[in-house]
């Protein structure tokens, strides 16, 4: 599964994208975020407060209860601030 990070989530994690081999229990966006958080280090920092993180699956905004499956592209980022 491909995971993308943007803005300060990217900075804390220390990379912009990676391919992860998440366990099958990580079947939602929220479960994946918790699994990443448990990796510790920058991941623990980036996902310390999930209320501050937003997500997209395959380039569509989703909530943390959204299901994910192998082959999906999941992105984590702060609330957007363009315009």
């Amino acid at each position: 599964m491909k995971v993308l990070y943007f803005a300060w989530v990217r900075q804390k994690v220390g990379r912009g994208e990676e391919v992860v081999d998440a366990p099958s229990e990580a079947a939602t966006v929220g479960a994946l975020a918790q699994w990443l958080q448990a990796r510790g280090g920058g991941y623990a920092e980036a996902f310390a407060d999930l209320k501050r993180v937003r997500a997209a699956v395959n380039q569509e905004h989703v909530g943390f209860d959204a299901p994910i499956k192998a082959g999906d592209e999941v992105a984590f980022f702060p609330p957007v601030t363009g315009g």
Binding site: F6, A56, A75, P78, P79, V80, G83
Partner: protein, 151 residues
């Protein structure tokens, strides 16, 4: 409908003219230009850097523009958003709407900006004397977007 994400500056007058040139069914063209302000949190801003999510940004801007066209009778929509490093006074974003009548053009323009601010995947990082700071999302932008929500 035109959606562009680019490093280069844009020309508001040229984009306005492009929407209505050679046509006589358009009575109203509204444009919005967003600019980098030189002060933030009481400090002078040195520069602002815009990061985005390539691919999703364009798709999201197109979805927002489609939503505007579904709600109002529009004869043209242009959205241009810059990325990269910008200095105070520089243009960040342009939205242009064309319609037969002014109310649709004004409302659609304001709707597009409210939705863009809360849905389009852009993030701003400010460089100020105290260091680098990611801009925090504002509750007032969520409220502005919520005005357009239909039950």
């Amino acid at each position: 409908m035109t959606v562009k994400v680019q490093r280069e500056d844009f020309d508001p007058g040229a984009e306005i003219a492009r929407l209505h040139a050679g046509r006589s069914d358009i009575g109203a063209v509204v444009s919005f230009v967003g600019l980098v302000r030189g002060e933030s949190h009481g400090e002078a801003l040195r520069s602002m850097t815009l990061e985005h999510f390539p691919g999703m940004t364009e798709r999201e801007l197109e979805r927002i523009a489609d939503e505007a066209r579904a709600r109002w009778s529009l004869q043209g929509v242009t959205v241009v958003h810059r990325i990269g490093e910008l200095k105070p006074g520089e243009r960040i974003v342009l939205v242009v709407t064309a319609a037969a009548h002014r109310r649709a053009a004004f409302e659609a323009g304001e709707f597009l900006m409210d939705y863009l601010k809360t849905r389009a995947p852009f993030w701003k990082r400010e460089l100020r004397p105290s260091g680098e700071h990611w801009v925090e999302a504002r509750g007032s932008d969520d409220e502005a977007a919520a005005r357009w929500r239909r039950d």
